[in-house]
């Protein structure tokens, strides 16, 4: 079980239909990610990397092909089952942080724990521990508007890790940050990778991708390069 790949995409095709128009964005894509890997997915805009990210993140379903996530075939699951997969096995980090503006850092981190059905006290303790892991224990009661961009993204990472997911998905996590803060954040990713986390990161920045151990390059819906470093 542990030797099985965390992500196994086989012949993934994604077609968007808009009225009579059909647009094929991914053309039979194959990708395997092993446990503990730190992968950067690169490509120009329109290359299909966001589509790939949505599929891997179970926010969308492939038109064709199979997708096994942590041993589970998720291609045929219904909405509620996909939600459960997102809850238990995936953690999202977005470019725009996507924190709940009216909730403080602690409650933002506790959100997935709520859907996982944890009791209030347990939620607080777990969320606090995650915040400590990203170095923000002293900011637990601050709202996103009272935190810097880097701090907000750390809160988002803590939230992504709340339910101890199999994969951490990051979509341009440093896109809104200055270079110094980006460096700090990438160090955090490296640290998480060092702790054994599997990380899949979408970026168009070579400097950011350079922190990953494997770079997958997409162009026009095909993988054109896949290199270990």
């Amino acid at each position: 079980m542990n030797d099985a790949p965390v992500i196994e995409l086989r012949g993934i095709v994604k077609i968007y239909t808009s009225g009579p128009l059909e647009l094929e964005v991914l053309h039979g894509l194959n990708l395997t990610v092993q446990r503990g890997e730190y992968v950067a997915i690169m490509g120009p805009s329109g290359s299909g990397k966001s589509t790939l990210m949505n599929l891997v993140g179970c926010l969308d379903r492939p038109s064709r092909g199979t997708y096994r996530l942590d041993g589970v075939d998720v291609a045929g699951l219904d909405d509620n089952a996909l939600a459960a997969i997102r809850l238990r096995k995936l953690g999202f980090v977005f470019q725009g942080y996507n924190l709940l503006g009216r909730a403080d850092a602690l409650n933002n981190v506790a959100l997935p724990l709520f859907y996982a059905g944890l009791a209030t006290k347990e939620r607080r303790e777990r969320a606090m521990a995650r915040l400590a892991e990203v170095g923000l224990a002293d900011r637990a009661r601050h709202k996103p508007s009272e935190l810097s961009g880097g701090q907000q993204q750390r809160v988002a990472i803590a939230r992504a890790l709340a339910n101890d997911p199999a994969v951490l998905l990051a979509d341009e996590p440093t896109g809104n940050l200055d270079s110094a803060t980006s460096e700090e954040l990438l160090e955090l990713f490296s640290k998480l990778h060092g702790n054994g986390r599997t990380i899949l990161m979408v970026t168009h920045d070579e400097g950011v991708a350079a922190h990953a151990r494997r770079i997958v390059r997409l162009r026009d819906g095909n993988i054109v390069a896949d290199a270990q470093r």
């Binding site: 997102r86 809850l87 996507n98 859907y115």
Partner: protein, 397 residues
């Protein structure tokens, strides 16, 4: 259960975060439920007040009188001597069959003069009337045709001031009558003025012998509950046996009248409550509108929640619980206001109606049910809409 509590906790937190909008959303609910509770409470309280007023007025008789529309009413004329055969025919049902006259006579005490209604009362039936002084007319008074009378408290005040009326003598149509009792005031001024509060009751035997030998205007029959109709039929049959089958009589049962009066009050109350219901529906539509706005405004939040793992059911339930919390809170506050208005209105009304009962438990139960139903009924659509939102689209905004 603990899951439901967690949702409730989450809903309360979320409502508190948006407290300004929550308060505004509740406003429609507060107004709606306040109006429905006020209308319902006051109409129920009024009904109970009128019932208790009637109750304090004593037992109601079946009244038998000559039908004035027949060709020869004089054939049907009720004679004093008819009373005994009618009473005998009704023996199995009630012992209380009493002739009545509808007359006013000059009544004096010293220099004080008035023309009160002088009614003949056997006085020994259970008329349910309370006494403020002395006793009622009893069987011995009737048997001996005694010169005694019982007067209403208004008359007692008129003739004797605030002092003791019992033991004094009134001169009624020339005869001397000892006051043996004073009726307590009927509860609520509404019926006092309607029925007349200056009445003198004397034994009917005395009335017939010493006041007027004219035939009685009515026969009053005090029958047990539910026997009114039967007693009236027997009385009419007996009178027709005495006067011939062509003689026509009218019977009126006051308890029938009371029942139809209650029906009218119930219809009015229901109608008013229906209007309040419309107010509640308007409040519900307001809530639906605001919840739809809320869903649109929180599209991003819903997207985030879905991305971190909330299922459709989670989102639906969250919005439903939020709106039910809102409607229950709004309904509760509105009912509180409605109750206060009801209590205020009733305290004004009670001067007219006497004892008034506010059905608190019923009001609270109705308010809770309605609030809950409004919350569920009008938020199902916005909640489902929120649940159907596409997470990718929602996050792209």
């Amino acid at each position: 259960m603990s899951r439901l509590l967690a949702y409730l906790d989450e809903a309360l937190t979320s409502l508190w975060r948006n407290r300004m909008r929550s308060a505004l959303t509740m406003l429609g609910m507060i107004i709606g439920s306040a109006s429905i509770i006020t209308v319902f409470g006051i109409s129920r309280a009024t009904t109970s007040g009128i019932e208790s007023t009637f109750g304090s007025f004593g037992t109601f008789p079946v009244i038998v009188e000559v039908d004035p529309t027949q060709n020869y009413p004089s054939i049907a004329q009720i004679h004093y001597s008819d009373v005994r055969p009618v009473a005998q025919a009704l023996q199995a049902i009630t012992p209380w069959v009493i002739p009545q006259w509808n007359r006013s006579y000059l009544t004096t005490y010293g220099n004080i003069r008035d023309y009160p209604d002088v009614g003949a009362t056997s006085g020994f039936h259970d008329d349910g009337l309370a006494m403020s002084q002395g006793r009622k007319i009893d069987q011995a008074d009737v048997d001996s045709a005694a010169h005694v009378c019982v007067i209403t408290s208004d008359l007692a005040t008129e003739f004797f001031g605030n002092g003791n009326a019992v033991g004094n003598y009134l001169r009624i149509n020339g005869g001397r009558y000892r006051v043996v009792g004073v009726y307590a005031n009927i509860k609520g001024s509404f019926l006092n003025s309607a029925v007349g509060s200056s009445t003198i009751a004397i034994p009917y035997t005395t009335f017939h012998r010493d006041v007027s030998s004219s035939p009685p205007d009515f026969i009053f029959i005090y029958a047990p509950n539910g026997m009114d109709q039967q007693a009236g039929q027997i009385a009419v049959a007996t009178l027709q046996r005495l006067h011939g089958p062509g003689a026509k009589y009218l019977t009126a049962s006051t308890s029938d009248f009371l029942k139809s009066f209650e029906n009218v009050l119930n219809i009015v109350g229901t109608g008013l409550a229906a209007i309040g219901g419309v107010a509640l529906i308007v409040a519900g539509i307001g809530i639906m509108n605001i919840m739809l706005v809320s869903v649109a405004e929180r599209t991003r939040e819903i997207g985030i929640r879905k991305a971190v793992g909330a299922s459709k059911n989670d989102i639906t339930l969250q919005f439903l619980i939020e709106s039910v919390v809102l409607t229950l809170l709004g309904g509760g506050i509105g009912s509180g206001i409605g109750l206060l208005v009801t209590i205020g209105g009733v305290s004004l009304l009670s001067k007219e109606l006497g004892e008034v009962i506010i059905p608190y438990a019923l009001i609270i139960a109705i308010a809770t049910c309605f609030s809950f139903l409004v919350g569920v009924a009008f938020d199902t659509y916005p909640a489902l809409r929120a649940a159907r939102l596409d997470a990718i689209e929602a996050l792209r905004l």
